[in-house]
């Protein structure tokens, strides 16, 4: 790996001062928190920065704050393990806790951070292979499109067909989470859903609107009283793997027999960004029964355009929605 300078700011302003303003040079300076994704990128020479800006000495970013209304404000340096085990997350934002728990290995959860997880780069094996100069790396072709695309997108693909690898993102989007992006000129807040971009809509080499001189400092998860949620992730290998597909579902259900008043449904592992499926969520509203679950499944994949080797993701998503709803009905 190429040698780099390590900056260790102790305030956010110092950190921001270290960052590149120029988009074209953005990879010369990289933010460094848990390092779980960054290290793999450095080792494969996918990025060769001159400088890493270590955020870990900046105080206050490693806390989960519970606001008066029950909303969570999660600092970007909170580890995945902390998030997974936090009683508020577990009690009121189950999907988020379950998503955090589903990530990697215990070691990765102890080291990896919320900010890092939301900003991690794709796992597509063409992107990760230095020999394949793909679109994501500034090349001219998405090799997955006509290649070995078992792990690639069935929704929202083109011209790149990566899937966004974050497990936290679908769960947080299901809770209408909002992110704070801090730049030299101040901060902006936007919904996590709008934070992510599709390759056809924005810079194909990026997955979000984060500017090179910005830092994602906090994630706010608004309280949703009366809602229950779950995150069901399907891994090819249970012990340690990224999602082939995943489903985050949050519902507000009342009465007996149970009726769903409102719902959110977000898919992971199937699109270049966390894939909100509002029409599928709508199908869940009403009697909480397998017929509606199946209808939601059908709607969730209605626009799917599978590639040569990933058509299985269509039945898989439907199956995961059934499993998620079945789990929620038992809570």
């Amino acid at each position: 790996m190429k040698a780099f300078e390590l900056a260790r700011p102790v305030t956010l302003d110092q950190a921001l001062a270290e960052l590149e303003k120029d988009s074209a040079k953005r990879d010369r300076t990289k933010l460094f928190a848990g390092g779980q994704d960054l290290l793999t990128e450095l080792k494969e020479h996918l990025v060769e920065p001159d400088k890493l800006v270590d955020l870990k000495r900046i105080p206050g970013l490693d806390r989960i704050e519970v606001q008066a209304d029950g909303s969570l404000v999660i600092g970007c340096l909170v580890t995945l393990a902390t998030l997974a085990e936090h009683p508020e997350t577990r009690n009121f934002f189950s999907a988020v806790a379950e998503a955090a728990r589903s990530i990697g290995s215990a070691q990765i959860r102890s080291q990896g951070t919320v900010g890092g997880n939301l900003n991690q780069r794709p796992r597509c094996w063409y992107y990760r292979n230095e020999q394949a100069p793909c679109l994501k790396k500034g090349g001219s072709e998405c090799f997955a499109y006509a290649g070995l695309n078992k792990y690639n997108a069935i929704l929202g693909g083109g011209p790149s067909y990566i899937v966004h690898p974050s497990d936290l993102a679908p769960a947080l989007v299901a809770f209408d989470a909002e992110v704070t992006l801090r730049g030299a000129k101040g901060e902006r807040k936007l919904s996590l859903e709008k934070f992510y971009t599709l390759p056809a809509e924005a810079d194909v080499t990026r997955e979000s609107v984060l500017a090179p001189d910005e830092i994602l400092t906090h994630v706010r998860v608004p309280a949703k009283p009366g809602w229950t949620s779950t995150y069901v992730k399907f891994k090819e290998r249970g012990s340690y793997d990224f999602a082939l597909a995943s489903v985050a579902v949050a519902v507000r259900a009342t009465g007996s027999p149970r009726a769903i008043q409102d719902a959110r449904l977000v898919l992971g592992g199937v699109a270049p960004k966390p894939w909100s499926a509002p029409k599928a969520a709508e199908a869940l509203v009403g009697v909480d029964d397998p017929k509606n679950w199946a209808a939601a499944g059908n709607r969730a994949v209605a626009g799917a355009e599978p590639l040569a080797h990933n058509a299985y993701k269509v039945p898989l998503v439907k199956g995961l929605i059934l499993k998620a709803m079945e789990a929620l009905a038992k809570r």
Partner: protein, 741 residues
């Protein structure tokens, strides 16, 4: 029947006796006569009188291993040592030029060399090497090498290799001339009388050894015509010769105290051993050249894949009547490996053709039961398909076509896995349930016999210390532990009373660990050495005590002279020895080993029909292996084989992009191995009805697990997956296919 018939046979030469020992070929056992020395040599003796051997022994090096004290080749650090690594060709087939100019200027880099220029025939083939003072400088040096890569047309898949306009992979053709066996016309005729005939094609991908310790050596600077080489090898004794040439020395001491796996891929010094030697010789500095994980995947061998087309017919009772098969072995630039069909099962009339199809990929190497897991997958799948077609119980069809030992083991394993209570014995579960449980079976065979190759020394010193020295390496099976146990047992000592030294050329000739022959080759020689040491000690003591050697008894309380009724503590007895102590040599004893083993495995799985999730719930293995040296160790080996096959079933396959010719999964993230959560409940039953001498167990245990799992998947849900791995994408599409009918 007992392995050793005590009655000597007539017609033996003087000093020899003839004994009957069982021999197993293709799962069928016959008794054969062999000649052994007719002397009062060592015997294993009755098992119920054993104190250490055949008991549950903790590995004597367990603490060293888990604390990191055990020194592997990777761990060796010598003064002034340089690190070296290869740069591999990035694509499958190319004309390569290497420019080392910039690499040589990288700070810390001491040397950069071309390993290969011109035509390079597989992705990952080493083309250059860099040696430097630090590992970081090696990496920087490798990055600074400028390769000129002119791509050449390549074939990395069977289809590409066999295509009409395929590039030439092998000068003699991309497919070898088929090897033919049996009379196809007789088989065609035999099919006519069958109650059912099935026809299918079964495929296995290329899999990797995935040794935790990559290949390589640390080569010390040669001095005075001799050199020491630390080598991660399955052939410690033999590999010394391979280093003599490149080091230009007469004597090489290979050291291999601990090794992190080999599985058949580490018999040779390889390009890494040769280049490390040349660098050490030329630079006059010790060289540490261990392959990177990527190199390990790309240039250190693999288990060949295969495509096998099978037609199998049986009678109404499930007797196998006719089989026609054609097999393509896929070993990259190598010939590939396949044990042939029919495999284990007796088929009345059969014929097959088999050939190698070559591709621009690293050649296959031996791997734990080479060719057998492939043959098992073809045969067990076909037998299963035929059983369903005939409506015959899956255990019954197997019992009808194998020998006694397998039949007995099938009954035991069926009971353990829950077959008797299982509701789906002749039809898969085709109900609407969303989670379904299925059971499958598979059989194994292996030779595992020994050879007269090892020479073992047992020394007793006047201070009471006992040392056993053997040149053999521990491929992972616990050699130190059973060497210690055998010697301690013979001398009446506890495990702690004996030190086993292994893994050095100078410890004496020893066989390479291949074909599960280590135990059956080594253990008899150890027993013989310990026996000789005991006898020599008894004779020396008899002189001192004015007794007779036959009156001296060694037991856990020490040494007892029956004539004088005197008892001596072990240390006091040893103190009577002269300064030289006792040194005894042992060699292989045919009567202490045997060969030919059998195993049966079963798997129970759960399939979730909504997601295609496949969970292996339980695996059972029953295995015979003659005298078990260490029951804990033997079961560990069985578990290891089962896990490796489970990993084949669920995940493992080498992936190369067919358009780009680049390796997609030469790392442990994308080349998936089963990990802790995949491991099911596992039961290993040692077949104690087998009373023969020592036989190797390693290879048989990896043969049938994946076949049993694939069969269990079909039993669970009706989807027959004919290509490994059994991933959820295939399962989901299979389930969708069933729904459509």
């Amino acid at each position: 029947m007992s392995a050793l018939d005590p009655r000597a046979q007539d017609g033996a030469k003087p000093g020899k006796k003839k004994i009957l020992v069982p021999k197993v070929e293709n799962g069928h056992e016959t008794m054969v006569e062999i000649e052994v020395d007719d002397v009062e040599g060592p015997q294993w003796g009755p098992r119920d009188s054993m104190r250490l051997v055949n008991h549950e022994l903790v590995r004597v090096d367990a603490v060293d291993k888990v604390t990191g004290r055990a020194r592997y080749t990777h761990d060796v650090r010598l003064p002034g040592m340089l690190y070296a690594k290869f740069l591999g060709c990035p694509i499958a087939h190319a004309e390569v030029t290497v420019d080392l100019g910039a690499a040589k200027k990288v700070p810390g880099v001491v040397e950069a060399r071309v390993v290969r220029e011109g035509e390079v025939k597989f992705v990952g083939q080493p083309v250059a090497v860099v040696a430097a003072k630090t590992r970081e400088a090696v990496e920087d040096g490798l990055r600074a090498i400028v390769l000129g890569v002119k791509p050449l047309p390549f074939a990395v898949t069977r289809e590409q290799s066999l295509a009409a306009n395929a590039p030439e992979v092998n000068r003699r053709g991309n497919a070898s001339k088929p090897n033919e066996d049996g009379d196809p016309e007789a088989v065609a005729k035999a099919f006519e009388g069958c109650a059912a005939v099935i026809e299918a094609t079964y495929e296995m991908p290329t899999q990797h050894h995935a040794c935790l310790e990559t290949h390589g050596a640390v080569v010390d600077v040669p001095t005075n015509d001799a050199a020491t080489v630390y080598h991660s090898t399955q052939a410690t004794y033999a590999s010394a010769n391979e280093f003599k040439g490149p080091l230009k020395v007469k004597e090489v001491e290979v050291v291999n105290e601990h090794m992190g796996g080999g599985f058949g891929s580490k018999f040779e010094a390889g390009v890494e051993g040769r280049v490390a030697s040349e660098l050490a010789r030329d630079l006059k500095a010790p060289i540490h050249l261990m392959l990177s994980r990527r190199d390990e995947f790309l240039c250190a061998g693999n288990r060949s894949g295969c495509v096998q087309s099978v037609k199998l017919g049986g009678d109404a009772q499930g007797k196998l009547v006719a089989m026609q098969s054609s097999i393509d072995r896929l070993g990259g630039l190598g010939g590939g490996s396949h044990a042939g069909l029919p495999y284990i099962y007796e088929v009345a009339t059969s014929a097959r053709t088999m050939r190698s199809v070559y591709t621009h990929l690293d050649a296959n190497r031996a791997m734990r039961a080479p060719g057998h897991p492939q043959a098992s997958f073809g045969m067990e799948s076909a037998v299963d398909e035929l059983a369903y077609a005939l409506g015959v119980d899956l255990v019954e069809i197997r019992k009808r076509n194998v020998g006694d030992v397998h039949r007995r083991q099938l009954d035991r394993v069926a009971r353990e896995i829950g077959w008797n209570e299982h509701p789906h014995k002749t039809k898969p579960d085709l109900s609407d349930a969303t989670t379904k449980v299925g059971i499958g079976f598979g059989l194994s065979v292996w030779g595992g016999g020994g050879h007269p190759e090892c020479r073992v020394t047992v020394e007793i010193s006047p201070d009471g210390g006992v040392r056993a020295s053997v040149g053999s390496q521990d491929l992972g099976t616990g050699v130190r532990t059973y060497v210690t146990a055998i010697v301690a047992e013979e001398l009446g000592l506890p495990m702690s009373g004996v030190t086993a030294r292994i893994g050095r050329t100078s410890y004496g000739p020893a066989n390479a660990s291949g074909g599960s022959t280590t135990s059956a080759s080594l253990a008899p020689a150890v027993k013989h050495a310990a026996f000789n040491a005991r006898k020599a000690f008894a004779e020396a003591l008899a002189k001192t005590l004015k007794s007779d050697a036959s009156e001296i008894v060694f037991d856990v309380q020490g040494v007892y002279d029956a004539r004088s009724k005197r008892r001596l503590a072990w240390k006091d007895a040893c103190a009577t020895l002269g300064p030289a102590g006792i040194s005894a040599i042992g060699e292989w004893q045919a009567n202490l080993a045997s060969n030919g083993i059998h195993g049966v495995q079963a798997a129970k799985v759960r399939v979730d029909t909504r997601t295609g999730e496949l969970k292996v719930l339980k695996m059972v293995c029953m295995q015979d292996c003659g005298l078990v040296l260490n029951r804990t160790g033997a079961r560990s080996q069985i578990f290891g084989g089962m896990v490796q096959a489970l990993s084949y079933a669920l995940f493992e396959q080498r992936v190369v992009d067919p358009d780009l010719g680049i390796a997609m999964n030469a790392n442990f993230e994308d080349y998936k191995l089963a990990a802790s959560l995949e491991i099911p409940e596992m039961v290993a039953i040692l077949d104690d009805e087998d009373t023969r001498g020592v036989i190797g167990i390693a290879e048989a245990t990896v043969v049938p697990g994946h076949s049993a799992i694939a069969n269990a998947v079909h039993n669970a849900c009706g989807v027959r997956l004919r290509s490994l791995p059994l991933t959820s994408d295939k399962l989901l599409l299979g389930l969708a296919g069933l729904k459509k009918g």
